[in-house]
C-alpha cells in the first residue's frame, strides 16, 4: 500500500497496553484520511450512546495520505471524539509538525481508549507507548507543557497538550500543538482531560512509500507556485483578520451577542489597523507556503503579550463582547491559547453572560466583583481566566452558552447563540442565508468551516438576503467539497489555487497512493463522509429539531447594516432545511434511507 500504513495504533489507557488494528484498503479509498477516516474510526470505536466524558469515548488523531508528501499545506491531522459540548460528532483539524510525527509513530491514526488513573504524559515512541507521571505538568499552560515535555524527553518529540481548561474539563477546551496550534472546537480538550492525558509526546521513524515520487515532486512544485499566487493573496497578507472591516460594511459582523450586525468601532480593531499597529510576524505551519498566521503584539503599558490572531478570535473577543481595545483582544486570545480553550465558544459564552447582565438576570458567581457588561471590558481577561480554572462564575460559563442558559433560566436560552450546543462563529445568518442553512444542518453544530456557505453568499452566486431553491444544492456541494478537503487533507486557504479541485486533488491522491481514484469518486467520498457524520449523530440521538438556529436569529429582525429589518423566519429556514434533505436524498425528517446507505456503501456499518 502506498501513502498509507494500513494500520492504526490503539492504546488502552487503563490497561497500559497497545495494539495495531489493520484497516482494509477499501476503507481508505472510501474515507481518504483526516476527517473522513476519523469519522469512520469514531463510528467504529465509539459504542452507541456513549457518555462523552466517560471511559468509552475514544479520542482519535487521524492523519492522511498527504501527510509526509511535502505538498504544501498538507501537514494536517484531525481529532475526533463524541463532543461533550454537543453530544454529537466532534471533528476538529490542527496542523504542523505533529501531523508528521503522528504518521511516523502511530500509523494512520492514534486511538486512545479508556482512561489513565492519574494525569499522564503519554510518550508514543515509534509505535510503543510509554506512560509517564505528569503530576508536575498539572496546572501548566499549553505552551509551558510543551516546553517541559521537550525538556524531559528530548527536542525530537512533537507534543499535543491540554492546558488548565482541559484538565478542568471546560466543555470547550482545546488540544494544543506546535506552539499554539489548536484543535479548537467541540471540546476535544475536555475529552483528553477526562482521560487524564495531560500531554502526548510523539516521535517515530516509520515511513510510507509514495507511488510516484517524481510525479509528486513535480506536483509539489506546481502547487507550491500556485499557493504563492493571487488565489491566496488575502491569507498571505492580512490573513482572516481582513474580514472585520468588510463584514462590518456588509452588515454581517455579529456584535453584542448578535444583537447587531455592525460595530461602531470596527475601524479600531480592523485587520488593517491591527496589521499597521500590532503586527510582529507571519507564522507558518510545517510544509506550508502560505503563512496565514499573524502574530500580533500588544502596545499598551501593560505586560507585553504576543499572540496569534485570526478573525474568529478577533470577532469573539471584539465586537461580540463590544470590546474595541486591540490589546485586550490580543491578550484574551493569547490567554485562551495558554489555558487551552476555543476562543469562539469562550467569547460567545461570555457575550451571553454580558447580555444576561444587561437584562438584569443574575448569574451565580457574579458577586465576586466581576463586572460583565457590554459597557465595560476590564473584567474580560479575568473572566476568561476564571473559566479556564472553573472558578466562581467561570464554573458556569465553562459549560457553554446552551447549558449555562438552561441552568440560569429567565428565558436566557433566547440569546444563547449556539446550534446543537456549539457557539456560532462570526457570520450573521440573517443576511447570509446560505450560511444560515449551513449552520443549521452541519453535524458538529454552528460551524462555518464544514459548509463554506459564506462562499456563495459573498460571491454573488446567490442572493444572500433571499431564500430560493438553489440554496440547498449550494449547501450540499459546499459541504461535500469541504469534506474532501478536510480528509485529504488540504488547507482551506489553498482552495482558490486549484484549477479544478476534484481533478487536481485526484491527481495528487493517485500520485501518492496509486489507487487510481477518479474525480467523480472523490466527490462521492465527500458525500459518503457527510452521510456517515449524520449517521453517527442519528445513532447518538439526533432529532429533526436539532437542525435549527437560535431563537434570536429566527425571531428578531436585524436592526442595522445595509438591510435593516431583514429576517429569517422559521418557515424560511424549514424550507431550506427540507430542500437540503431532498438534495441529500434523505427523508423529509432528515433520516438516511437504506437505499442511500447502500448507494454510498454505508450499509455494512449498520450490520456492525
Amino acid at each position: 500500500m502506498y501513502g498509507y500504513h494500513g494500520k492504526v495504533l490503539v492504546v488502552d489507557l487503563s490497561l497500559k497496553t497497545s495494539r495495531w488494528d489493520y484497516i482494509p484498503e477499501d476503507i481508505y479509498r472510501k474515507y481518504l484520511g483526516g476527517i473522513g477516516l476519523g469519522t469512520y474510526l469514531l463510528y467504529r470505536y465509539c459504542p452507541p450512546q456513549t457518555e462523552p466524558l466517560s471511559e468509552d469515548n475514544p479520542l482519535i488523531f487521524a492523519t492522511s495520505p498527504f501527510v509526509g508528501s511535502r505538498l504544501t499545506t498538507t501537514s494536517k491531522f484531525a481529532v475526533l471524539a463524541k463532543s461533550p459540548l454537543t453530544g454529537f460528532i466532534a471533528d476538529s483539524l490542527s496542523s504542523s509538525h505533529l501531523a508528521d510525527a503522528l504518521k511516523s509513530a502511530c500509523g494512520d491514526a492514534l486511538i486512545l481508549l479508556n482512561r489513565a488513573r492519574d494525569f499522564t504524559l503519554l510518550h508514543i515512541d515509534n509505535g510503543k507507548p510509554v506512560f509517564m507521571d505528569a503530576s508536575d505538568l498539572v496546572g501548566l499552560s499549553t505552551f509551558d507543557t510543551e516546553k517541559s515535555v521537550k525538556d524531559r524527553i528530548g527536542k525530537n518529540v512533537r507534543v499535543a497538550s491540554i492546558g488548565p481548561a482541559g484538565e478542568n474539563q471546560v466543555l470547550y477546551a482545546s488540544i494544543a500543538n506546535d506552539g499554539g496550534r489548536q484543535a479548537g472546537r467541540c471540546g476535544l480538550g475536555a475529552v483528553m482531560g477526562f482521560k487524564n492525558i495531560k500531554a502526548l509526546a510523539i516521535n517515530g521513524n516509520m515511513t510510507t512509500q509514495i507511488y510516484d515520487l517524481d510525479g509528486v515532486e513535480r506536483y509539489r512544485r506546481k502547487i507550491s507556485a500556485k499557493s504563492l499566487g493571487e488565489g491566496t493573496d488575502k491569507y498571505r497578507n492580512l490573513g482572516t483578520m481582513a474580514n472585520v472591516s468588510l463584514f462590518n460594511r456588509f452588515g454581517i459582523l455579529p456584535t453584542k451577542n448578535f444583537q447587531q450586525a455592525t460595530f461602531e468601532n470596527a475601524d479600531k480593531i480592523s485587520g488593517e489597523e491591527l496589521f499597521e499597529k500590532h503586527f510582529e510576524k507571519n507564522a507558518y505551519c510545517s510544509n506550508c507556503t502560505i503563512g496565514c498566521e499573524k502574530i500580533l503584539v500588544t502596545t499598551d503599558n501593560g505586560k507585553k503579550n504576543t499572540g496569534r490572531m485570526e478573525y474568529e478570535s478577533l470577532f469573539a473577543f471584539g465586537p461580540l463582547c463590544n470590546v474595541d481595545d486591540p490589546n485586550t483582544i490580543i491578550r484574551a486570545a493569547r490567554l485562551c491559547d495558554e489555558l487551552g480553550m476555543d476562543t469562539v465558544s469562550c467569547g460567545a459564552t461570555i457575550a451571553w453572560a454580558m447580555e444576561c447582565y444587561e437584562k438584569g438576570i443574575s448569574i451565580d458567581g457574579q458577586d465576586e466583583g466581576i463586572n460583565l457588561s457590554f459597557l465595560e471590558s476590564r473584567d474580560l481577561l479575568k473572566t476568561v481566566s476564571m473559566i479556564g480554572h472553573r472558578e466562581g462564575i467561570g464554573n458556569l460559563l465553562a459549560l457553554g452558552s446552551k447549558r449555562a442558559s438552561e441552568i440560569v433560566g429567565g428565558r436566557s436560552d433566547r440569546w444563547a447563540m449556539h446550534v446543537k450546543g456549539l457557539e456560532m462563529p462570526g457570520y450573521e445568518p440573517r443576511s447570509l442565508k446560505t450560511m444560515a442553512l449551513g449552520f443549521a444542518i452541519t453535524p458538529r453544530g454552528a460551524c462555518h468551516n464544514r459548509t463554506s456557505g459564506y462562499e456563495a453568499d459573498l460571491s454573488g452566486s446567490v442572493d444572500r438576503f433571499g431564500v430560493d431553491n438553489r440554496r440547498s444544492e449550494v449547501a450540499v456541494s459546499g459541504e461535500d467539497f469541504t469534506a474532501v478537503l478536510d480528509s485529504l487533507v488540504w488547507c482551506k486557504f489553498l482552495r482558490k489555487a486549484f484549477d479544478d479541485f476534484y481533478s487536481d486533488s485526484a491527481e495528487a491522491y493517485n500520485l501518492i497512493t496509486g489507487l487510481d481514484i477518479t474525480p467523480a469518486e472523490l466527490k462521492v467520498c465527500g458525500e459518503r463522509i457527510n452521510n456517515l457524520k449524520k449517521l453517527f449523530n442519528i445513532r447518538e440521538g439526533w432529532r429533526r429539531s436539532d437542525d435549527t438556529l437560535p431563537h434570536r436569529i429566527l425571531n428578531e429582525p436585524l436592526p442595522d447594516g445595509v438591510m435593516p429589518g431583514v429576517v429569517l423566519s422559521q418557515e424560511e429556514l424549514d424550507t431550506m432545511v427540507e430542500g437540503y434533505y431532498v438534495c441529500r436524498g434523505w427523508t423529509k425528517d432528515g433520516l438516511i434511507p437504506s437505499s442511500k446507505m447502500c448507494e454510498l456503501g454505508l450499509d455494512s456499518l449498520l450490520v456492525n
Binding site: 488565489g231 493573496d233 474580514n243 460571491s459
Partner: protein
Amino acid sequence: MNPENVPLVPVTVEVYGTLRLRTKRKYLYVEIPQVCDRHNLAFALSKVCPDLVGIAINNEGTDIKDTYVINLNGLKFLDGNNFHVNSDDSIILLSNQAGG
C-alpha cells in the same frame, strides 16, 4: 476605454484588506458611465490609482481581475457586465477569498 460623449457619474470605490494597505486609501473617487461594465471601472480606477494595476486590475488597465469581486452598496454583487450606477453609489472592490 470610457466612451467619449457619454455622461459620467461620480461614484465612490471602497477598498479593503490588502488593497487598502497597498494603496494607503480607504476610498477612491472615480467617474464612470451610468451604464457601466468592469472594463469601464478598471480603466477609471487605473487612472485614479495606478497602484491597483497588477493587483486588482490587469496589467493593461482594462479589466478587474478574476480574484476580485464587485459589489454595489454592500447589497448586490455585480457580474461586471452592464450595471447601472447613480452618483451617490458606492462600489466595493473585494477579494474573492471570502471568509476564512
